[in-house]
């Protein structure tokens, strides 16, 4: 049995590497395939596979985020994503390494507070449940009011919300989150990279040296913000990162990357725990695990934590190696052609997985995403695509 567990972890890591570095392929897709195959395999083994894949994915998905869709300028504008800012200065590898530090230490810190988190979640479930619409609305309003261009931010939030409602109501569509998130968060950046003829500098394979304090501050803020947002639907890593940076005060690019890395992994780990503790799955993977297991026990949670640590440790080194290879090669690749190839690949994946009608979701999301990117507001307002449908559910 131990060998089977080990194999499930390894296969999960391999799947997580694939979903992490391939744009447009999300773990929810693989988790749903695993769910469909659940009658062929031992449920626990399948869940180990999903947990290992999900944790690995959170380590690797910064690779396409950092290396693809970079802007045309030197990356100093406020609207430019922190990973792209470092990529444009030749530190793409360093940027990925910072998110890895965040993911690894964040995972270990989250495990350290897990018993406390579980107790807190169980005892506060009533309050959490009652406060869902108020909290997610408050977070969204807070983020809009933080912008200089409040009207544009509110418009993007509402347009994304309408797109979310329409996408979830497009009956022939399978996997609606796939075209929704691909179009809002992926396609606009790729489109602008082609339009602006972005050129990537030769990358330095160098570590970005940080003082201990510069690591501890974002990690603690990440832990606090993740603990909060992992309890609420429609609130994800992006919002948690902004809340985390608000807790800390001003954050430089390096600290912010550690913060987002930690949040990404902690939110994923906590989603399995909340599925056990309060029966609410806050991620597609946790939903699949809960559905496969039906009866979610404490023993299963403990096993999943061990799996998460094993997958996290291996992913750390694998991701470093992959980022190093990409950083060395990216300078010699025609960046516009690479982005175009990714767009075509993503389009094909969407049509294959979600159906031909997904093309219309992709087009709408692309236009909304372009508004957010051109106007220079935070892209996080496009999470209105989940927040608004969730709010409507509670009304």
């Amino acid at each position: 049995m131990a060998i089977e567990y080990f194999l499930a972890i390894l296969l999960g890591i391999a799947a997580g590497i694939f979903t992490g570095i391939t744009p447009g392929i999300h773990i929810n897709l693989i988790a749903s395939i695993a769910l469909a195959l659940s009658f062929h395999f031992d449920p626990l083994l399948l869940c180990i596979f999903i947990v290992a894949m999900s944790i690995t994915h959170t380590f690797l998905d910064f690779i396409p985020s950092v290396f693809l869709g970079a802007p045309e300028d030197d990356g100093n504008a406020l609207s430019v994503l922190p990973g792209h800012r470092l990529l444009m200065k030749g530190y793409g590898y360093g940027a990925v390494k910072l998110t890895l530090i965040g993911s690894m230490y964040g995972l270990l810190l989250a495990i350290a507070i897990l018993p406390l988190y579980m107790l807190a979640v169980k005892s506060a479930f009533g309050i959490i449940k009652a406060s869902v619409p108020f909290v997610i609305l408050a977070i969204s309003l807070f983020l809009i009011l933080k912008e200089d261009k409040k009207l544009v931010a509110a418009s993007v939030f509402l347009l994304s919300g309408i797109l979310g409602i329409l996408t979830f109501n497009l009956k022939p569509l399978s996997q609606p989150l796939l075209p929704l998130f691909t179009s809002l968060f992926g396609l606009p950046l790729l489109f602008l990279s082609i339009k602006n003829k972005t050129k990537i500098k030769k990358q330095k394979i160098a570590e970005i040296k940080l003082k201990r304090k510069a690591k501890v501050r974002p990690l603690l803020a990440g832990l606090l913000a993740s603990s909060l947002v992992s309890l609420y639907p429609a609130v994800g890593s992006g919002q948690a990162a902004i809340i985390g940076s608000e807790i800390l005060g001003s954050l430089n690019t390096n600290e912010f990357l550690i913060l987002v890395g930690s949040i990404n992994t902690i939110v994923m780990l906590f989603s399995f725990v909340t599925a056990y503790a309060i029966g609410k799955a806050r991620s597609g993977s946790a939903a699949a695990v809960a559905e496969i297991l039906k009866e979610f026990s404490l023993d299963a949670v403990i096993l999943f934590v061990i799996v998460a640590v094993a997958a996290g440790l291996l992913s750390f080194f694998i991701c470093k190696a992959i980022a190093k290879i990409i950083a060395k090669k990216i300078y010699s690749i025609n960046y516009a052609k690479l982005c175009l190839a990714v767009i075509l690949f993503v389009l094909a994946v969407n049509i294959f997985v979600s159906g031909i009608w997904s093309v219309f979701v992709l087009a709408s999301g692309l236009f909304i995403g372009l508004i957010a990117n051109i106007s220079g507001i935070r892209k996080i307002h496009m999470m209105g695509s989940l927040v608004v449908p969730t709010l409507l559910f509670y009304i």
Binding site: S38, L159, K171, S364, I374
Partner: protein, 115 residues
Amino acid sequence: MKKKLNFYKLTFILSILSLIFLFFLTKCLDARESSVKEVYRKSVGEWVKISGDIKSIKDYKTFTLLEVCDEDCIVVVSKEKINCEMGSAVEIVGKIIVYKGKKEIETKELRCYGN
């Protein structure tokens, strides 16, 4: 700068137009009505719409299981608490899932029409 502003305006107009088009698509496109027998032949993840009678209801902590039958029967999973009674006629719109090797429907919309 002027070019950027024009592009910005264009994306704004296109986003609204595309949402209007998508709205009409959601009104025009519906999950195709199927018999339970047809559901068994469809793929996992597809949207379906079925009508039938409730043969049994089992309430669990986080979900409810219904057995819905026309000429054949299928298990329907509802994550919401439902207020239907046994014998009620129901119309269900949902997605096909598989549990323990058997196809089931996970509901998105469920309407009861009395006993």
